[in-house]
């Protein structure tokens, strides 16, 4: 099954010549208290991510993938350990400061798309800029640009329920990139999609990563999907079990070109 070879278990320590890594986790622990029981979701995770990387995070259910993504996304704080984003220690920041960082440095893509219902694609994409205080004209231009990038420039006035799952996820990707974040975090973005649509969505991620140098980390439990990334991190029981580069990632675009065209993605699901 695995076409790419395991290259090495590297230590991605910050290179002193290149400056700090984009993301550094140092011995991060996360413990949930459930009544009397302590649940150790993360038991000492150390991780470096550089600018421009495309990482697939894998691991069994309950291994700590989502917990890691929440911490990386500044939605949650480590119980112990440190988290540096762009050289800044974010483990000590206040709620509002974390909100500002999420707004300007992080883009989220979720398994369930999480678009605002009864809100057009355009308005959904505009939303992060509303909280940044971008002026109306610029907001519109940038939102349209982002929708063009994901190939939905012609559907900007559609409501989420008028779009297929793949299209909704592309709107969500447009929303995640519209504030030019340092990293896009995607927790099982293809979990609700069929295989062809999944390839399309992975194609969008690959394009963003290759053409725009956007750093991407995505969680998946499908090894096939992980093959579109350039590095894989495998979690087990709250620790990193494996961390390797994929030598020859699959290309979503080439695969899509070789597939016979199907119209289903162009049709509305409802």
């Amino acid at each position: 099954m695995l076409e790419a070879q395991v290259v090495t278990e590297t230590n991605y320590a910050a290179d002193p010549l290149l400056g700090p890594a984009l993301i550094t986790l140092e011995h991060v622990h996360k413990t949930y208290q459930m009544g009397d029981v302590e649940i150790h979701a993360l038991r000492g995770v150390s991780l470096h991510i550089d600018r421009g990387e495309f990482i697939a995070i894998m691991g069994a259910s309950g291994s700590g993938k989502s917990t890691t993504m929440n911490i990386l996304g500044c939605l949650d704080k480590p119980t112990r350990g440190q988290y540096f984003l762009d050289g800044q220690d974010v483990s000590t920041l206040s709620r509002d400061e974390l909100a500002d960082i999420r707004n300007s440095k992080i883009g989220f893509v979720f398994q369930g798309f999480n678009l605002l219902s009864r809100t057009s694609a355009l308005e959904n994409v505009e939303l992060p800029m509303l909280y940044l205080g971008v002026k109306t004209a610029e907001r519109l231009t940038r939102a349209k640009e982002a929708l063009d990038i994901v190939g939905l420039g012609d559907r900007m006035h559609s409501m989420p329920n008028q779009l297929s799952g793949g299209q909704q996820q592309r709107v969500a990707i447009a929303r995640s990139l519209v504030n030019q974040p340092s990293i896009i975090l995607a927790d099982e973005p293809t979990g609700n999609l069929d295989s062809r649509t999944s390839v399309e969505v992975m194609g969008v991620f690959q394009q963003l990563n290759k053409e725009r140098g956007i750093t991407i980390a995505l969680v998946t439990h499908e090894p096939d999907i992980a093959q579109y990334a350039r590095r894989t991190i495998v979690f087990k029981d709250g620790r990193i079990k494996n961390d390797y580069l994929i030598k020859d990632p699959r290309s979503a675009r080439e695969e899509l070109e070789s597939l016979p065209p199907i119209e289903d993605d162009e049709e509305d699901e409802e």
Partner: protein, 407 residues
């Protein structure tokens, strides 16, 4: 993030669920509408009582012959013959709180002009020349009779509007001669329109002649049946009542254990009490309507709370993409204030409309004051903030991860 943007976010969010927004507003619409209509009715009643007070005359009191005790009227007002013109003169001379006095005697009888005649409920009132001043009832055309006419018991008269319209079929009667109880009288003036009194009697169906004329030429009496008295101020009516009572008791030589053989009726007092009770009524109506506004406010809180729960995921999404707690709180607060203010504006329209319908169909006077409109707008903002605050705070306090996971 500025207020205008939050406002836009809130408006968009409200627009997304128009039915819910509309139902939420309904409570406020009814509440504000009820306050405006109720206060309108109350103030209308108050205003009509005020105008009746003005109609009564200048700080007026009546003194009637006869007596009244706790058991009710004995003999009946005006039946005994205890008041005299000298009493009236003495009251005017000796009571400091009294400004003007007119003796009064009245008679009934037929009025004839040419081949027209008019009985109806026409009252022939005998007064002196101070009548227009005391009753605050000016002449419209011609003039009122003079002190000289009173002294000489002249056969002159002043007629009310109803008599002009009926007996003289609308033509100006000044200078014409009519017959009252078969005696010829010269009409020298027409009174302005007074309308109905508070008992619904037509006050314009009257003819006024010098009281001396009634005494000497119609009834052959020397006493008077009443006095019309004007006090120096509305507040002085009470003092005047006391001074008149004391003076008349003294003049009538009544012992300490004897009842009055007259009675004083303070119209201003009665009217003011009526006005007071209409004001209490207004406040009562306004409080009841205020309760419905309160219920409307609780409705807003209720729906905002449901809305926060229903929109937990939306809140999670907003927080994930960078909304600060304060922005979420402001959004929900602005949503509830917008609902209550827009509801309030519709409520004003509804309330004014209801007032107009009430006054047209039920014939109640209503008066919608700008003040009650202003107050209800202020109150709706207050309701929006007060009842929106808790749900807004609840929304802002949500944990983004849990909110995102919410199904």
């Amino acid at each position: 993030m500025n207020l205008l943007l939050t406002f836009r976010i809130a408006i968009r969010a409200l627009g997304r669920n128009k039915l819910r927004s509309g139902l939420t507003m309904l409570g406020i619409i009814i509440g504000v509408g009820a306050v405006i209509a109720m206060v309108g009715i109350g103030q209308g009643a108050s205003a009509s009582i005020q105008s009746q007070i003005a109609n009564l005359g200048n700080n007026m009191l009546f003194v009637m012959s006869g007596s009244m005790n706790t058991g009710g009227m004995r003999g009946g007002a005006g039946t005994s013959q205890t008041l005299t013109p000298d009493d009236a003169a003495a009251v005017e001379r000796e009571c400091p709180a009294v400004r003007a006095v007119s003796p009064g005697v009245s008679a009934n009888g037929q009025l004839v002009y040419g081949n027209q005649n008019w009985v109806a409920s026409s009252r022939i009132q005998g007064t002196n020349e101070k009548f227009p001043d005391i009753r605050a009832w000016p002449i419209e055309t011609g003039e009122f009779f003079t002190e000289g006419d009173v002294r000489t018991a002249a056969r002159v008269c002043v007629v009310g509007k109803t008599i002009k319209d009926n007996l003289f079929t609308g033509t100006d009667p000044v200078g014409l001669t009519m017959r009252i109880r078969n005696l010829p009288f010269r009409v020298i003036g027409v009174l302005s329109t007074k309308g109905q009194n508070q008992y619904g009697q037509d006050q314009d169906d009257t003819v006024i002649v010098p009281y001396t004329t009634v005494q000497k030429k119609m009834l052959s009496i020397t006493n008077i049946s009443m006095m019309m008295i004007s006090a120096i101020s509305p507040a002085a009516t009470f003092t005047a009542e006391k001074q008149i009572t004391d003076l008349l008791r003294q003049r009538h030589k009544l012992g300490a254990n004897q009842d009055n053989d007259f009675f004083v009726r303070n119209l201003t007092d009665v009217a003011e009490a009526a006005d007071q009770s209409s004001k209490i009524m207004t406040n009562l109506l306004a409080s009841i309507a205020g309760v419905s506004l309160l219920v409307g406010g609780i409705g807003i809180m209720n729906i905002m709370l449901v809305s926060v729960t229903e929109r937990t995921r939306e809140i999670g999404i907003r927080m994930a993409i960078g909304a600060r707690s304060a922005a979420i709180r402001r959004q929900f607060l602005i949503e509830s204030v917008t609902l209550s203010v827009v509801g309030g504006i519709f409520g004003i329209v509804f309330g004014v409309g209801a007032s107009i319908i009430i006054s047209n169909t039920l014939g109640w006077p209503t008066l919608v004051s700008p003040w009650s409109i202003f107050a209800s707008v202020i109150f709706s903002v207050f309701v929006g903030v007060a009842f929106g605050y808790y749900p807004a705070r609840k929304a802002a306090g949500l944990d983004p991860i849990e909110a995102l996971r919410y199904e």
